[in-house]
Symmetry: C2
């Protein structure tokens, strides 16, 4: 309990740092097109746990002191996450009207603006990844490698393919193999890349990057399985979005395939697998371990 | 006439190189999400002049011998252009059913797939910009700068803002100031960045980068003004898309604001301004000069 309080305070502090970074690095103005900047900022500031950019900071902090050095990079990670939510919510995609207790971007603005806001945030990520602050703080080669890692994770053979497969799987008979493929591409790869890109930026040794990559995949899967569960047993108010939307759209999820109890067991097994991967890092991995258990027990 | 033949043969050769690059660097497979790869490739291979990636190669060739060195970067530029066309054609945006004589991506596939294909191509651009081939061929700092230049040009304060303003201007009373703002953001910035990024990758001296930037803006504007004209006086078969679509959507264009004759004069004046900017480069700029006149006289 004491531990959990500690990690939640730690996460709160990092979340505040990310939000400070968003304020600092988000572009101003926008002239005749400023509506798309307003829509992007509306979604970017709608809240959320900021888990992905925090993982990026944590990956860096394992090897370098001040993770504020890479704040524009971490904020870029959050831009990608927000773009993916805006586009996922569109009528042609998951058709969700609410996100984080507020109207989705296409409801608060309109569909065209939401498409453009997503496009703009995805592009802004790469502007931030190449921000002049980073050019002065990290190895240029490592920065290029970190950008490549993230782009692959969220690209045509990563998150985008996962979202495509997720849509195609709706209402169809699924298999565990297909479900795992979708989760790995739609969610896991980006969570893994968020952590690992931070470690790459900090010049972590290749052996430990490999370890963090394996840990990140287990952490990402834990996160997604809990997400599947919360859609059924979560509280709408805490979640900030209607529950049972996966059920309504006949999404392929762990509970839909295996039932609630078995899904809970798999989430726990995956989280404990993640913890065991961290063993070689010893006490250095304390925060990542606490975070894993925190995400396993989360209610929003 | 002889000159024109020469430049068109030159462009044809470069176009073939870009298309070879697309074949070589486009990702394979895609598992359960392969539909989005198919849709992306459908649009990427639908043809087009490949002007933007060719400008990138030309910017490089002004300073370095073999522009095949940066082929993945140039192909990334074309991925961004293709993504912008796919999203522009969506029902919520310009609602165009045809592109380059073929059904638009959302007609050949569906809306969700087209949104994802655009997202995937935009992301693929940054995967290609950080391709291992480039890491071995160009200065890492210059590569980061070139990526930043392109990302800014097509981002929330560039092309995306231009598209937003273009949509908002439909059916409204326009001004020359607003029209110029839209063209500068929607088209000109990306054309300029395509050329300049090639020069940055080739370590061009800052003074010449500035000159090319100014030239690129005039070339981009010439290109867009001709585009406005072709929507009215072009041939549907040659263009591969219905004409008068700007008229139908009451877009703010040069002909709608100033009439056809005055628009032609402005296009010529802009092109000759572009040529005069190139003077300090002397004979080295021959191809860029020929290209300018070629784009002024184009019919598709």
């Amino acid at each position: 309990m004491g531990d959990n309080l500690e990690i939640s305070e730690f996460l709160e502090e990092k979340r505040a740092l990310i939000e400070k970074g968003i304020e600092r690095y988000f572009p101003q103005g926008g002239g005749y097109g400023k509506r798309v900047l307003e829509a992007s900022l509306y979604s970017l500031k709608a809240g959320g746990k900021r888990i992905r950019p925090i993982l990026c900071l944590l990956g860096y902090e394992l090897y370098q002191g001040n993770s504020e050095d890479i704040l524009p990079f971490a904020c870029g990670i959050e831009c990608i996450h927000t773009y993916s939510l805006i586009h996922d919510d569109l009528p042609a995609m998951d058709d969700d009207d609410f996100r984080r207790g507020k109207p989705a971007c296409h409801k608060a603005f309109d569909e065209a603006t939401a498409i453009l806001a997503g496009d703009g945030l995805l592009t802004l990520a790469f502007e931030l990844f190449t921000h002049s602050i980073l050019l002065n703080k990290v190895s240029h080669l490592n920065l290029l490698r970190a950008i490549h890692k993230v782009a692959q994770a969220v690209g045509l053979k990563g998150m985008v393919a996962g979202q495509m497969a997720d849509l195609l799987a709706e209402g169809k008979r699924g298999s565990l193999k297909k479900l795992q493929w979708i989760h790995n591409h739609k969610t896991v790869a980006f969570i893994e890349a968020s952590l690992v890109s931070g470690a790459i930026l900090a010049s972590a040794p290749p052996r430990e990057i490999k370890l963090l990559s394996k840990f990140g995949r287990n952490l990402g899967l834990t996160f997604q399985i809990i997400d599947d569960l919360l859609d059924i047993i979560g509280d709408e108010k805490t979640l900030g979005k209607p529950i049972k939307s996966d059920l309504k759209r006949k999404k392929l999820t762990y509970p839909s395939l295996l039932g609630i109890e078995k899904t809970k067991l798999i989430a726990e097994r995956t989280a404990y697998e993640a913890l065991s991967i961290l063993e070689p890092l010893g006490v250095r991995a304390k925060i990542l371990k606490d975070l894993t258990l925190y995400l396993l027990k989360r209610i929003n």
